[in-house]
């Protein structure tokens, strides 16, 4: 899995956000470690909705790259993010589930949580353009 995910985690922006992953067999959890620079509104305080959205897009890409070998990074076509709870200033976790993978387009759902996986802070669903290897 590490080899397949390497191009994604070599991306300058992904590195800048500090996103990591934890893989167990075919289960992949992405982690957005808390940093002061992720805060959107310091008065609440809450993480920036854009950072959460970006993190979930990265998680979707990671899920697609872990599932099959791709010739290029997945490209988002459209995504919809629902913000369910304020994201507190602490680590965020996310997992992706591929609803349908076609030869060119994949439909992916992502859930992000903090304290309890059963209490997601945000969900994403979207379509991604994929280019299978070979």
């Amino acid at each position: 899995m590490e080899d397949r995910l390497a191009p994604l985690f070599a991306s300058p922006y992904v590195k800048r956000l500090g996103v990591r992953y934890d893989g167990h067999g075919d289960e992949l959890t992405c982690i957005l470690p808390y940093a002061d620079t992720l805060v959107g509104n310091p008065l609440i305080p809450a993480l920036h909705g854009g950072a959460i959205g970006a993190f979930m897009e990265i998680t979707a890409s990671a899920g697609l790259m872990a599932a099959s070998e791709l010739a290029a990074l997945p490209k988002p076509i459209d995504v919809a993010v629902d913000y369910l709870r304020p994201a507190r200033p602490q680590d965020v976790y996310a997992r992706a589930a591929i609803t349908r993978q076609g030869s060119r387009v994949a439909n992916v759902r992502v859930e992000a949580w903090q304290d309890r996986r059963g209490a997601p802070i945000a969900t994403l669903h979207g379509h991604f353009l994929v280019k299978p290897a070979g």
């Binding site: 300058p12 992904v14 959107g40 920036h48 959205g53 970006a54 990074l73 993010v81």
Partner: protein, 178 residues
């Protein structure tokens, strides 16, 4: 009323991007703020590249930019007194941003209904008719946000007392281009 709102937005303008650590980290700049409208720029930077092979800015930066511009427009649409929570954000990515160019998000509140603001936004890299991405979002005032807004107001008043200059207004010619 509208004049009062514009005056308040001008006063708050320095905080609308610079008050958000993540927006500062990504180098966002507030270009314009009017009742219900906001324009925010994301600089092209090497550390914001998604794919080193193409040099294209990461989609996540465009996501954060559209979220920030939309939220700022919604804030300005709901009267400029209350911080907002994002309910949802829907994005269409139409083409990769051109490597080397800044991306500009122009957001406009379509409708305010009670505590909810509906906002649409376009991100482009120079030509508004050739968008990089578009967004639709819904924002809501909530209790936590209201408490935060009180603190913002206090900070702004302190800033005005210190003689900080509000950002210049959006020129009239850039209105109603959507």
């Amino acid at each position: 009323m509208s004049e009062d709102l514009q005056a308040r937005l001008d006063q708050l303008a320095p905080l609308l991007v610079e008050g958000s650590p993540h927006a500062v980290d990504l180098g966002f700049k507030l270009e314009a703020i009017r009742p219900g409208e906001a324009v925010v720029r994301a600089p092209y930077r090497e550390d914001l590249i998604g794919d080193p092979e193409t040099g294209v800015m990461h989609g996540g930066v465009v996501t954060a930019l559209l979220d920030h511009a939309s939220g700022t427009a919604g804030f300005a649409g709901l009267g400029g007194t209350q911080a907002l929570a994002t309910l949802d954000l829907r994005l269409d990515y139409m083409r990769p941003a051109t490597p080397g160019r800044d991306v500009i998000a122009e957001a406009r509140t379509i409708k305010v209904s009670g505590l909810i603001a509906f906002v649409e936004a376009v991100a482009h890299d120079g030509d508004r008719d050739d968008p990089v991405a578009t967004a639709h979002a819904a924002f809501m005032v909530n209790k936590v946000s209201q408490d935060a807004a009180e603190k913002v107001r206090a900070n702004v008043e302190a800033g005005i007392e210190r003689g900080e200059t509000p950002i210049s207004r959006l020129p009239d010619s850039s209105r109603g281009t959507s």
